[in-house]
């Protein structure tokens, strides 16, 4: 798609004879307004209909999870007198055999899952980006030891390791977020290192170095922002993967523990009732899919918007 580039010469035509234009004023009809790289990316993203739709669904889910519990009449711990009823007016998603309102439970579960997923993405991205930048920038021994350590961590199945650590250190949302985030950091580190290895040989780094920029400045001001597009796309994938990881861990019994609840825990509780009380199984599962799917589509839109060259081959 031909996009007006910000480097294109602006055509300013001074036409004093044009009606409506004051003498001496520049006529703007043919000018191309200058746009920054990020503005262009934003426009490209907004043109991606699926991504924008997914973004609104994502925001609705966030509102539902965080504001919903404040206005809904039941808490996720409330035991209502109606047990094992199907979806109806008072209980849109039905109730379980103890009388817990599933609507309230799903809101709470989604809230916990979102919190964990965002923590995973933020932590893994920050740690992984620094890890990768250090590794790629210093090369040699630093690179070798940092990357060999990443390789070693990646040889161990993440889910098993996370289950073991969560079992030992306890199952609150932030501990699970830290564990899964820490274990995802090597993936980000690898990607960022690859980018930095090629960026560090470019002229603008040489120029900055010639101007006397310190190593820290080179890394944080010059290298990190240039790897940002890839990092952001990666972060969205981490959010989607994070939700699946957290729910799988909770389903497995090593994630968030009752009396608190999570979507994985709800599916685990409902899996025996698929044929008898299907609402207990379908609603939590559908919310996991909806959340992960919307985040994945946002990520796809971001990739197209931030990295148009890659798009030509990927799509």
């Amino acid at each position: 798609m031909p996009e007006p580039s910000n480097t294109a010469p602006t055509t300013t035509v001074t036409a004093p004879e044009t009606p409506g234009v004051q003498p001496g004023q520049v006529e703007r009809e043919f000018t191309v307004r200058e746009r920054s790289q990020w503005q262009q990316a934003g426009r490209r993203f907004l043109r991606h209909r699926l991504a924008v739709g997914s973004l609104s669904i994502f925001l609705l889910l966030v509102v539902f999870a965080f504001l919903g519990p404040l206005v809904w009449k039941y808490k996720y711990t409330t035991i209502t007198p109606d047990n094992s009823v199907g979806p109806r007016l008072g209980h849109p998603f039905g109730t379980d055999n103890l009388g817990h309102d599933l609507f309230a439970e799903v809101m709470r579960g989604l809230q916990q899952s979102i919190k964990v997923a965002l923590l995973i993405a933020v932590l893994a991205t920050t740690v992984g980006a620094l890890w990768g930048v250090f590794s790629g920038f210093y090369k040699g021994l630093v690179d070798a030891s940092l990357m060999r350590f990443a390789d070693l961590l990646l040889t161990i199945p993440q889910l098993a390791l996370a289950a073991g650590l969560a079992n030992h250190f306890g199952g609150t949302w932030w501990i699970i977020g830290i564990i899964l985030g820490g274990l995802s950091a090597p993936y980000v580190a690898r990607v960022v290192r690859g980018m930095v290895l090629s960026l560090r040989e470019r002229e603008f780094i040489e120029a900055a170095r010639a101007l006397g920029a310190s190593d820290m400045r080179l890394m944080l001001v010059h290298l990190v922002p240039n790897a940002m597009a890839v990092v952001i796309v990666n972060a969205t994938l981490l959010v989607a993967g994070g939700v699946l990881g957290e729910t799988a861990l909770s389903f497995f019994g090593f994630g968030i523990q009752s009396p608190d609840t999570s979507l994985g825990l709800l599916v685990s509780a409902g899996q025996g009732a698929v044929l008898t009380r299907p609402w207990l199984f379908y609603f939590p599962g559908l919310f996991i899919i909806l959340f992960a799917l919307s985040v994945n589509f946002i990520g796809d839109g971001l990739r197209d918007a931030l990295d148009p060259q890659q798009t030509r081959q990927r799509r």
Partner: protein, 333 residues
Amino acid sequence: MLAYTIRRVLISIPVLIGSSILVFIIGKLLGDPLESLKLRNPPVPRHTIDLENHRLWLDRSWPEQYYLWLKGLVLHGNFGPSVHSTDSIRGELGSALTVTAKLVVVSVIVAVTLAIITGVISAIRQYSAFDYSATFMSFLFFSMPVFWFAALLKAGGIWYNQNVNADTFGTIGDKSVLIGDVSFSDASFGQQLGNIVGHMILPTIALSLAGYAAWTRFTRASMLEVMNSDYVRLARAKGLRSRRVLVRHSLRNALIPLTTVTALDIAALLGGAIITETVFQWHGMGNLFRTGLQDKDVYLLMGWLLISATIVILFNLIADLLYGVLDPRIRHA
């Protein structure tokens, strides 16, 4: 090729040693194996705890423990003492691994085959209805939790069995204890095979899904890249038949990176297998890891992690070697 192979194999040895150290430290972090013994009520005599401490090498320093563990492993193939003094960790790991390997291998074959077929069709018919629906499906599968889909399949299988009044799909375990009226080991070979296949169908579908979603996108991207390259255009310009261009010139080159991606995803697939096994109640690696965690059986957990790490390292090695075979540029670099 020989020099390349030897070099790659030699590189994996330090990785394996590093991995064993990491696994040992993680195992130590996972808990105190004598926790339940110490908390037992009425309290266990001091002497018993001392004996257990000695039996599990806990009265020694970490480096000594690591040395003993590694020595037993390398010289005798032992995985160290289990908290249950009668259990053999090697035996448990062996039988669990056989069960899991069956599931993983079949799932990988199914997922790769389907991924290549749909990926190639999507690339050839880019932006067609098929391409769009395949893309959407892969996004959907990618966003679907394995445990949810597995539980759904299981319920579907049970529902089908009830309605047809047959036991087409096995939904619990990897084989039945009884086939009809006879025990599994007394049944005929055909019955045994049918039973095992019946138990494998649903877990295989569940586990293949995530791998399929990722690999079909990869095949499509890789295929599109090759099809737009100069040598494919040249092959067309030479007047080669389009089938020949597609299979000999495009597909063969497009599949090279797929081998690496598949081999590298094996760690994630093992994770998926743990979940699938839990849903279908197979006594595989997932079940073993869970009991190991509950019993704080640290040497079992270390052995488990080490075996998984070894499998991943082995597959990385295989991927490297295959890459060398398929792409001469790599081995001569």
